[in-house]
């Protein structure tokens, strides 16, 4: 990085000298590149090239940035994990279901920030309201009840944390959940029992990336128009068209999976206000009341800062803010998977449902165990713990 910066300085000095002597008009533009029609230019394919945990590890306190030495040390530690194949609970069904190791994860170099969250100053998601805490606990209790008769709980797997083994299948298996389900559960009665990801419906905003699959966005602008296409979640990408005409948000009864984005320029920053989320979406417990204020600012030829403030008084006790620093990707190489075709290739989800029906039938015919004694919901249990999140 340091060498690269010195090169940049050298090149920059030369270019600046040339530009200043040749063209005095450049003084009219501020820092950011501009489009042909004079608006700040945010265009290109952008991604976060570094790994930064959403929340800051407690040991860093209110410190926003790692030292270079810390980053090098963390990278050393993380690289060492790449070759390992840690398996838990050998000989159990989880050893098969969770047959993912670090090979299946994308690992990038440690970023300069200790957390994506910059506010509150401790870099942590603010505490939840008591209402939201109760909702989350009730949801967890239901999911644990569906797991109680499985080996996962019998073996005290972390996936059963907070629950306990009971060989009798829970009566709660017959319950209709009182909120729209968005996460995987150990019941597969129909598509609604599946997670949004398993149904190819998970791509959403805010988008902070995951360890599996990339997180790319392509911005194309026109005069008074901004389009953002997301390539996320292994083919679960989606499209946002930012409404830039100054009109108010959609009526409250019009809800969308990706909300309603209305933008304006504040100096060189694109400010986007997002509301009208569907109750079928869930970001860390926040649903139809989620309100985002995004600030997109070009900070250099190849850098873009994305800051977003999340607000939902029914879930969090205060708003919180995340900053991501994106790097521009090569336009010619075009390494963005702009075709979200998870659904078109989704043979996994119907297979899961079909297998559940076969297990139901085998049990009914006296040929198989009670379906509730099998865990068909847990995976990734054996994956290496990320030192960044520790």
């Amino acid at each position: 990085m340091r060498t690269r910066f010195f090169t940049v300085i050298a090149v920059a000095v030369v270019i600046t000298a040339v530009a200043v002597t040749v063209n005095l008009r450049s003084a009219e533009t501020s820092g950011a590149p501009r489009t042909a029609w004079g608006e700040p230019d945010l265009q290109g394919i952008w991604t976060n090239e570094f790994d930064t945990p959403l929340q800051r590890a407690a040991r860093y306190g209110t410190r926003e940035f790692f030292t270079e030495e810390e980053r090098a040390e963390l990278d050393k530690e993380r690289i060492a994990l790449l070759g390992r194949d840690r398996r838990v609970e050998r000989g159990t069904e989880l050893d098969v279901a969770g047959a993912y190791n670090s090979v299946f994860m994308s690992m990038k170099r440690t970023g300069r920030r200790t957390s994506l969250i910059v506010d509150p100053p401790d870099g942590r998601v603010p505490s939840m309201t008591s209402e939201a805490t109760q909702r989350a606990a009730a949801d967890r209790a239901f999911r644990l009840a569906l797991l109680q008769a499985t080996e996962t709980c019998k073996n005290n797997s972390t996936a059963c944390a907070g629950g306990k083994y009971d060989p009798t299948p829970s009566a709660r298996r017959a319950e209709v959940v009182d909120r729209y389900n968005t996460g995987r559960m150990n019941r597969h009665n129909g598509p609604e029992d599946g997670s949004l990801a398993d149904r190819c419906l998970s791509g959403g905003i805010p988008e902070f990336g995951t360890a599996y699959g990339g997180s790319f966005r392509r911005i194309v602008q026109t005069q008074r128009g901004v389009s953002i296409f997301y390539d996320v979640g292994q083919g679960q990408g989606f499209q946002r068209n930012i409404v830039m005409n100054g009109s108010p948000h959609l009526p409250a009864r019009v809800r969308q999976w990706h909300g309603d984005s209305r933008g304006r320029w504040e100096g060189d920053t694109l400010v986007v206000d997002v509301t009208n989320f569907s109750a079928k979406t869930d970001f860390m417990g926040s649903r139809e009341n989620l309100h985002l204020v995004e600030r997109w600012t070009r900070t250099g030829p190849d850098s873009l800062e994305y800051a977003v403030t999340l607000e939902d008084p029914t879930v969090w006790t205060r708003p919180w803010t995340v900053i991501e620093e994106f790097t521009r990707q090569n336009d010619k190489e075009n390494r963005i998977y702009y075709e979200p075709r998870c659904h078109e290739g989704n043979y996994g989800f119907p297979s899961l449902l079909l297998a559940a029906r076969l297990a139901d039938k085998a049990y009914a015919d006296g040929r198989g165990p009670h379906p509730a004694t099998h865990d068909n919901a847990t995976d990734f249990v054996g994956v290496e713990e990320n030192p960044l999140a520790r």
């Binding site: 600046t16 149904r199 005069q223 296409f229 010619k332 075709e339």
Partner: protein, 321 residues
């Protein structure tokens, strides 16, 4: 945020200076050219906005008479022209019919299928419900996405033109600059554009063989190659023409053309039609533990239409009101 490297500040300033130089250079260059029209993007017609075709091509790109149902079965007569609506749509009455059209296929209106391909097209039409990718909410492909009955939004820049479609919240980017080909075949094609005067010409290739042209079973192979031409006929109408080539399916290239209209509502915006969810019952209904549709025989949905008319709404009662 607060800690900024001096180097990157210099780089930003330098980049701004370069861009500033580029802007003033282009202004100087175009001094002798005709004055740009309002809204032009870098001297080219601006297609930005929300558009929608307004025709029947999504039912059948070829000329056709109106039909009583999207799915039909023999009625009392043995004639094909006297078929009646079939069970999957009969409950919808006249709302389930297919409107007539003069078609969008240029020339004699025929699609030059090879004999083998024509047989497949006919089978496709007979098995529409099971074969049409639209019903499964699969990516619609090009050109079909251009004339489905859903709006789409064009965001036109200088090096890229982005088209976002309401149906399936899909999109495509038209590359006006140099770009590498995609690593695999695609549903929506790989679009590379250029300007011929005021016409945007887009070459689309790298398709898979899974998309259709309409609900009538018209199809193509992975050898599909399109040349699209977009011309602004008026500020609010795009004349859209496509030359369609696929040597595995057609004996010669053929052409379609149509106007595509601007959505003029002042509050118009692209809303989602994220149909993945809507197709779940259709795709997975038979593997629920308690099916919502009363009769599945394996993967075959038997539609028993029970339509109880509530008191006061019986035909004769309604007629007397």
């Amino acid at each position: 945020m607060r800690i900024r490297l001096n180097a990157s500040m210099i780089a930003v300033a330098a980049a701004a200076a370069v861009v500033g130089a580029a802007i003033s250079a282009s202004v100087t260059q175009s001094a002798g050219a005709p004055a740009p029209r309002a809204g032009d993007i870098a001297g080219r017609p601006n297609f930005s906005g929300i558009w929608q075709a307004n025709n029947e091509a999504h039912w059948d790109v070829q000329a056709h008479a109106a039909r009583p149902g999207a799915v039909m079965q023999p009625g009392v007569y043995p004639f094909e022209y006297a078929q009646v609506a079939a069970a999957p749509v009969v409950a919808l009455g006249a709302a389930a019919g297919v409107p007539a059209s003069l078609g969008i296929v240029e020339g004699d209106g025929e699609i030059p299928y090879t004999p083998e391909a024509l047989a497949i097209k006919k089978q496709n039409a007979e098995h529409w419900i099971d074969r049409d990718p639209e019903l499964k909410c699969y990516l619609p492909g090009i050109p079909r996405a251009m004339y489905m009955p859903y709006p789409f939004e064009i965001t036109q820049s200088t090096n890229k033109i982005h088209m976002a479609y309401a149906f399936a919240t899909t999109a495509r980017t038209i590359h006006l600059d140099e770009v590498d080909p995609p690593p695999a075949d695609t549903w929506m094609g790989h679009s590379v554009g250029r300007w011929e005067g005021n016409t945007l010409v887009v070459d689309v290739a790298n398709f898979n063989d899974k998309t259709w042209f309409d609900r009538a079973g018209n199809f193509h192979s992975d050898a599909l190659h399109l040349v699209e031409r977009f011309t602004l006929a008026t500020p609010d109408v795009i004349q859209y023409e496509v030359t369609i080539e696929d040597p595995k399916v057609f004996t010669r290239p053929w052409r379609i053309s149509m106007p595509i209209y601007r959505r003029m509502e002042p509050n118009m915006q692209l809303l989602e039609y994220r149909c993945t969810e809507f197709a779940e019952e259709f795709l997975y209904g038979h593997i629920r533990n308690e099916p919502l549709v009363k009769r599945w025989e394996g993967e075959t949905m038997i539609v028993d239409i029970t339509r109880k008319v509530p008191p006061g709404d019986k035909f004769y009662e309604w007629f007397r009101k």
